[in-house]
């Protein structure tokens, strides 16, 4: 998922046909740096009470859980709503395990993996006082299709193919028995990731009385320890305690500590930092990029309030493989040799916030083995880190490719123009005529994806954050032949890179993965290196995440799935 974290202005459509965290083999995605990490031992005894104030530069758009696809709202929805299953509510890699939530236990699928039968917990009430019953789930799933949203997650349910935004009937696919308190879901085909999808906020239950249309900024009642008091995208979101909540499974939905959670919108990030330093607020929203000049004071004066976690994400430039000069392999490799990744790391806030990379897969990821051929003095077989650009080699490649002197357009969005300027300078250095085009954040990503615009850019800035720790989420989603959708704004293979041989290997890895994850990961590692050799991107670095909290906040936990767990923070009175 691209940029779930970044500013809402920039939010755009990630296409993730199959999705979701965890459970897909491999280790968790979180590693810690600095004082951060999964969790910090809390000083003193956790205590309830107080108002936790989060500052975010902008809100997360429409608040209907069936449509919203931002980590910003998800961080709240996990506190106010529940699904059948949930990712364990703890920090660290444990946070990617699935645990039963509104279901009594996680069922084994029957009927060859096509049927799931859940025993639903009794006696759970929505925040409006009505009792939650299995039939509420039917409405919840039908709303996936009547509210315009990312419908592809649940399109495998029987009857979903006939659903339209006007009308949806899933009575064949989602069968509720309000007497026996069971819910049976029928799929058209086995889906090994279906349980993960059920743990996403899209599948969080809402009352059957909820309108099939978009509820706008009124969030329907949920079953979690908190409920939405108000949401005004230009002002604030306010969560208060749900009087009807009682703990049923602390692993899935523990009690929260603050009495009230408020997220305020619209400050400049720098002012958010100041406010948290001065104790006027408690948390700088994780999606707001803290200006690099404020970081030093956080790392020195406020080190014990600052937490750093490595993200499995890429910040990269896609090269337009359909148009000259970068339809030429040597030209693509040339700029990979020439691009100064150290400069990019500096622009990103220094070596403690970004790690240079040449390949597609991020470190600590299944299938990752270090590979960087595009560096001065590469290690044997490229199995070493990036150290410095190799301009001589790059110039040589440009000469060989016969593309010297070509005009090149570098495309970035506003906040990331410094990277674009670096790219322009490095392109000019090796004999291209580069210029920068900056587009508004809200349109840059769809613009790059749409094949209609292929003649308007040669190098395009972009970034990608994992949906779930599986190599296909990077390699197949971003560089697979199947991810090219002509004339669509949702075509995540921006580079339009399609290599038949590599694609065959990816398909093989996908099928192997069902039975033998280790063998599959080995295949993915080969794919990763082969794609890197084809140089469809100039990958810059893998970023790290900073969380900055006020002095009175204790109990920090960082889940690789939901990031910071707000309800588990507690305030020193």
């Amino acid at each position: 998922m691209r940029e779930l974290l970044r500013r809402v202005f920039k939010l755009s459509i990630p296409i993730v046909a199959i999705a979701v965290a965890a459970g897909c083999g491999g280790s968790g995605s979180s590693s810690s740096g600095g004082t951060g990490g999964g969790s910090t031992p809390a000083a003193g005894t956790p205590q309830k009470g107080g108002t936790l104030t989060i500052l975010a530069s902008s809100s997360f758009g429409v608040a209907d859980p069936a449509q919203n696809y931002t980590l910003q709202q998800w961080a709240f929805l996990i506190d106010t709503h529940d699904g059948l299953v949930a990712f364990k509510r703890v920090g660290g890699t444990e946070g990617t395990q699935l645990v039963p939530d509104l279901a009594e236990q996680i069922p084994q699928p029957t009927d060859g993996g096509k049927t799931y039968t859940f025993q639903i917990r009794k006696g759970i009430k929505f925040s409006d006082g009505t009792t939650m019953k299995p039939s509420d789930f039917v409405t919840t799933f039908e709303r996936q299709f009547t509210v315009p949203g990312p419908t592809s997650f649940y399109s495998g349910i029987v009857g979903a193919d006939k659903c339209t935004p006007k009308n949806c009937d899933l009575s064949q696919g989602v069968v509720a028995d309000d007497n026996a308190y069971t819910l049976t879901i029928h799929l058209t085909a086995p889906d090994p990731e279906f349980l993960d999808k059920l743990a996403l906020p899209f599948a969080f239950v809402v009352p059957s009385t909820t309108s099939p249309k978009l509820t706008g900024n009124n969030v329907p009642p949920g079953t979690g320890p908190y409920m939405w008091q108000s949401y005004d995208p230009n002002k604030e979101a306010v969560l208060v305690r749900n009087p009807n909540f009682k703990v049923w499974n602390p692993d899935a939905q523990p009690e929260g500590y603050p009495d009230k959670i408020v997220e305020k919108y619209g400050l400049q990030v720098s002012d958010e930092v100041t406010a948290v330093e001065n104790g006027q607020a408690d948390v700088v929203f994780a999606g707001d990029t803290i200006p690099s000049d404020r970081l030093n004071e956080l790392g020195t004066q406020y080190a014990d309030q600052t937490h750093v976690n490595a993200l499995t994400a890429d910040w990269y430039f896609a090269l337009n493989t359909k148009r000259p000069p970068f339809n030429n392999l040597q030209a693509r490799q040339a700029i990979n040799y020439a691009f100064d990744r150290k400069a990019a790391v500096q622009l990103a806030g220094g070596s403690s916030l970004a790690v240079p990379s040449c390949q597609i897969l991020p470190p600590n990821f299944p299938g990752y083995t270090q590979y960087c051929p595009y560096t001065a003095n590469p290690a044997a077989n490229g199995a070493g880190p990036w150290t410095a650009p190799d301009i001589t080699k790059a110039k040589q490649l440009v000469q060989q490719s016969g593309t010297a002197g070509a005009s090149v357009v570098v495309n970035t969005d506003g906040p990331d123009k410094p990277f674009g300027e670096q790219m322009v300078a490095d392109l000019n250095k090796i004999g291209y005529k580069a210029k920068l085009v900056v587009l508004a954040g809200s349109i840059q990503y769809p613009f790059l994806q749409n094949s209609k615009n292929l003649d308007k850019w040669s190098v395009g800035w972009s970034a990608w954050y994992q949906d779930y720790p599986a190599p296909s989420d990077f390699l197949n989603v971003l560089l697979g032949c199947g991810s090219i959708h002509p004339n669509s704004d949702a075509s995540p293979n921006i580079a339009e890179f399609c290599d038949k041989g590599i694609q065959a290997k990816m398909d093989k890895a996908l099928t192997t993965g069902v039975t033998n994850p280790d063998a599959a990961n080995q295949l993915w590692a080969e794919v990763d290196h082969e794609v890197t050799d084809q140089a469809p991107w100039v990958n810059m670095y893998n970023p790290k995440q900073i969380d900055f909290l006020s002095k009175r906040v204790q109990g920090y936990q960082w889940s690789p799935q939901w990031y910071i767990l707000y309800d588990q923070l507690w305030l020193q009175q």
């Binding site: 758009g61 315009p148 949203g149 990312p150 230009n234 002012d271 508004a440 809200s442 349109i443």
Partner: protein, 323 residues
């Protein structure tokens, strides 16, 4: 007088119409922005997009789309934002207005009081070193970009001297509603008020000084003086009162322009969520319904201020009515 007002009102309506058409034409087909995509949210299916295009009338001809939008804005008042359909545009503006009004009214009080004091003082002290000194100060005020002054103010009050007693009372940036905490409201707005008023203090002090000097040489003021009125009485009863006519008309226009969105920069720098800030955000998102509504709101205030000033003038000076 009646026909004059009717003519003004009709003219106002015409202007508003032309402005809405203009804004619609500027924005209706911004390349690269598909309203249906904005409405659909992330990862929509093709059928959902088609449905939305139909539902919102985006597949209709441009004039029809204009009429639909105007109908939703003025008659049914249920126009919703493209980037967030939970957000009705009209209530959004209504709820942002108090912040803008608080900011502009407060700043206006400061600038009127200080400008009168400065302008009159300069006029009275003409010939001494203080007159050019005050006027130079006024000119410096006029020459400062308001967003830069705001930044510098923030630097001092939020950072540099925030921990000293001078500015430790300044709360974090943002708007604190009067109804929730009047004292915090005042504290939070004081620095923005001062920042916003500096330019107008400069302008108005200059206008007032010139006007006072001019009127002091008029015959009727000389007569008043000859009649034995004290300098203070002359100043208050005659000079200042006459100067106020220019002053008030200027004030009407500036106040209108500020409420209309002229405070955008000040609101952005201080994180005050007024109408200007809303406009700025909607422009960043290219959210046509909100842009349309804020511009209509802004144009309405400017045209209204113009009309009020004109009517006041006509009332004061009958010759204009005939013209």
């Amino acid at each position: 007088m009646g026909t004059f007002i009717i003519r003004r009102v009709l003219w106002t309506l015409l202007v508003m119409f032309v402005i809405t058409v203009l804004v619609f034409l500027i924005f209706f087909e911004t390349p690269g922005v598909d309203p249906a995509r904005q409405i659909a949210g992330r990862n929509p299916s093709a059928s959902a997009l088609k449905e939305i295009r139909h539902q919102f009338g985006l597949d209709r001809p441009v004039p029809v789309r204009y009429v639909i939008m105007m109908k939703k804005l003025f008659i049914t008042r249920d126009l919703v934002s493209y980037s967030n359909q939970g957000q009705s545009v009209v209530p959004e503006i209504v709820s942002a207005a108090p912040a803008t009004l608080s900011l502009v009214v407060g700043a206006a009080i400061i600038w009127v009081v200080v400008a009168i004091l400065m302008g009159v003082a300069a006029a009275m002290l003409k010939g001494t070193v203080f007159d050019p000194l005050l006027m130079m100060l006024a000119l410096i005020g006029i020459s400062m970009p308001v967003f830069w002054l705001g930044e510098v103010m923030n630097l001092f009050t939020q950072h540099q001297f925030h921990n000293s007693f001078v500015f430790s009372w300044v709360p974090g940036l943002g708007y604190y509603p009067f109804t929730q905490d009047p004292i915090l409201w005042f504290k939070g707005l004081l620095i923005p008020w001062i920042t916003l008023s500096v330019l107008y203090i400069g302008l108005y002090a200059r206008v007032l000084r010139a006007s006072v000097l001019e009127i002091q040489n008029e015959d009727y003021v000389r007569t008043a003086r000859a009649k034995g009125l004290s300098e203070r009485q002359v100043l208050v009863r005659h000079t200042l009162r006459t100067s106020m006519i220019t002053f008030v008309s200027l004030f009407g226009l500036d106040f209108g322009a500020l409420v209309a969105g002229g405070v955008l920069l000040t609101e952005v720098v201080f994180g005050i969520h007024g109408v200007g800030f809303l406009t700025y955000q909607s422009l960043t998102n290219l959210d046509l319904p909100v842009i349309m509504a804020t511009v209509v709101y802004g144009a309405f205030f400017i045209v209204l201020a113009n009309a009020l000033v004109d009517i006041a003038y006509a009332w004061l000076d009958p010759r204009i009515r005939l013209a």
